[in-house]
């Protein structure tokens, strides 16, 4: 693959006391790909993406995004630079309307027609008819969808999805997969996911983390065939 590299992390490290949550990870994201990050519970996946998006400060190592060193950039500035993060635990504004939720994302990137663009962003995920509801009154599946819609509305170059299908029904998962397929190659997607069907179906490349280190990187077929991955994770 002669793809352009959007993000590269080198020797990225973060320890919490004695726990080596992320321990010298080298990682590359090609522009326009869907890249899945998998690994057993506690492998450091969420810590790793938190380092990428700036929620957790980097201990050592470096991150370059679109040719720029962002290792020390604060989280809000990374969002402005084009890295959007959707929370593992749904973190919408429950007491604000659905429209206000999405408008906060749309106005953050500087929209000229705030109301129209907000409605368009809701329409994209099928929530336009619920615009005036309080976000906290949405069903769980719709809340997850709103969370993803807020990430999309930022029009990021990189969209990080932290376990987006958790708690969704099968029909909702299918709709979600279509949504993610539709955003590449305009955006690049980094996906943390436990549902292997979703991973194998969506991802072009997969990185496996174990004990804070990269165990393997490759296409879904390569990962499936990798004996180290099988013993560590797939229970092979």
């Amino acid at each position: 693959m002669a793809a352009v590299t959007l993000l590269e992390a080198r020797a990225l490290t973060r320890h919490f006391g004695g726990l080596r949550a992320v321990d010298g990870v080298d990682f590359d994201l090609a522009q326009g790909e869907i890249h899945a990050l998998i690994g057993p519970n506690g492998a450091g996946k969420t810590t790793f993406v938190s380092l990428l998006c700036g929620r957790v400060p980097v201990q050592s190592g470096s991150i370059r995004f679109a040719g720029q060193d962002i290792t020390r950039l604060p989280a809000h500035a990374r969002v402005r630079a084009g890295i959007a993060y959707t929370f593992q635990i749904t973190a919408i504004y429950a007491r604000l309307s659905v429209l206000d939720n999405i408008a906060l994302a749309v106005q953050s990137r500087g929209a000229s027609h705030l109301a129209a663009e907000s409605m368009a962003a809701l329409d994209r995920v099928g929530l336009a008819s619920r615009a005036d509801m309080l976000a906290g009154e949405l069903s769980y599946g719709h809340q997850r969808l709103l969370e993803v819609a807020m990430g999309l509305a930022l029009r990021p170059r990189l969209l990080i999805l932290d376990e987006p299908t958790q708690g969704l029904a099968n029909s909702e998962i299918d709709a979600f997969k279509d949504l993610v397929r539709g955003v590449v190659p305009d955006m690049t997607v980094l996906l943390i996911e436990h549902n292997m069907d979703v991973v194998m179906d969506l991802a072009q490349r997969i990185t496996v983390l174990n004990f804070g280190q990269v165990l393997a990187t490759g296409t879904p077929d390569e990962i499936r065939a990798n004996p180290a991955v099988q013993s560590a994770y797939l229970g092979g």
């Binding site: 998006c53 929620r55 604060p74 989280a75 809000h76 500035a77 969002v79 402005r80 959007a84 993060y85 929370f87 973190a91 919408i92 504004y93 429950a94 007491r95 604000l96 206000d100 408008a103 906060l104 994302a105 106005q107 953050s108 990137r109 705030l114 807020m150 930022l154």
Partner: protein, 315 residues
């Protein structure tokens, strides 16, 4: 959406029209009270920008009120400034003080923020007393009638004073209404509701909160400067802890995070104290009982409760 916008403007312009008309109907005693209430409501509106909308519970707003009051008063008394220039300086002093305090205090949050702002306000209060040769300390400064003339209007005249208080209140109310309905107003509320989420939408929490606090300080400074000019007295008691707590009570009573709540709260509290002190010397007991009833039955304040019970459009 447009129907709601109509209701919002109709309500707020209606309140302003009623206040304007009240001047011609009410007896002189209530005229004076209402003028005072309107100025205090501007102070409470400023407090509400920080507390009700942005979620910053400051216990030191008397410092900003006092900055406006003394900024205006000392320039008039010591430097012989005219009312207009001194009023402007007082407003700027409120904003500048909020900026200075915010740069330091906003490194903390929650209870720490309450304590740090309280400490700053106490330091400000003690500073006023320490420099008694200039500030006249507890005795305070009486602003001469001659100095209380703004654009040719004598502010010591009851009718003029009412109109001046009304003009300030109307301007503050309309600016605040526009503010909370603007994109920036939405971001302030987002900070209150979920700071981490807002950060991950690309908003810098420190800058947003600092901007809200400075706006809040400008309101408090304007109220302080106007209070001194309209009622002719600048005293250290206005910078004491009591004046940090008062706007909190007004806002809680009327409804935190509502545009009209601070005025409603200020008016009710003012008359509650007024009536209670006519009946008993233990009038603060009546205030305490009223607050208990409020916390038990309408913890979001009067307008907050109304908003939950059907008036969803209330800004």
């Amino acid at each position: 959406m447009t129907g709601n916008a109509f209701k919002v403007w109709a309500l707020h312009l209606g309140v302003l029209a009623a206040l304007l008309a009240a001047q011609f109907v009410l007896p002189a005693y209530h005229n004076g009270n209402l003028a005072r209430i309107m100025v205090l409501a501007v102070y409470a509106m400023g407090f509400n920008i920080a507390f009700g909308y942005t979620g910053l519970l400051s216990l030191g707003h008397a410092l900003f009120f006092g900055a406006g009051l003394y900024g205006m008063g000392m320039l008039v008394a010591l430097a012989g400034w005219g009312a207009g220039a001194a009023l402007t300086a007082g407003i700027a002093a409120g904003g500048a003080m909020a900026l200075a305090v915010g740069l330091l205090a906003l490194r903390t949050a929650g209870v720490s923020f309450m304590i740090v702002t309280l400490m700053f306000a106490q330091a400000g209060y003690l500073t006023i007393l320490y420099y008694t040769p200039y500030t006249r300390g507890e005795e305070g400064i009486v602003i001469d009638r001659a100095a209380r003339v703004l654009l040719g209007f004598d502010l010591s005249d009851d009718g003029v004073r009412y109109f001046a208080a009304f003009a300030l209140f109307a301007a503050a109310l309309l600016v605040k209404l526009a503010l909370v309905r603007s994109p920036f107003g939405r971001v302030m509320v987002a900070m209150r509701e979920n700071e981490e989420r807002s950060r991950m939408l690309g908003y810098d929490p420190f800058r947003i909160k600092l901007a809200a606090l400075v706006l809040s300080g400008i309101y408090a400074g304007a109220a302080g400067a106007a209070y001194g000019l309209l009622f002719g007295y600048v005293g250290a008691s206005f910078a004491s802890i009591q004046y940090s707590i008062l706007p909190l009570l007004y806002v809680l009573l009327g409804g935190a995070g509502t545009v009209l709540g601070p005025f409603l709260g200020a008016a009710l509290m003012f008359y509650l104290i007024d009536l209670a002190s006519g009946i008993t010397t233990a009038h603060l007991l009546v205030v305490g009982v009223a607050l208990l009833v409020l916390v038990l039955f309408a913890p979001k304040g009067i307008l907050g409760a109304l908003r939950d019970r059907g008036l969803k459009w209330l800004p």
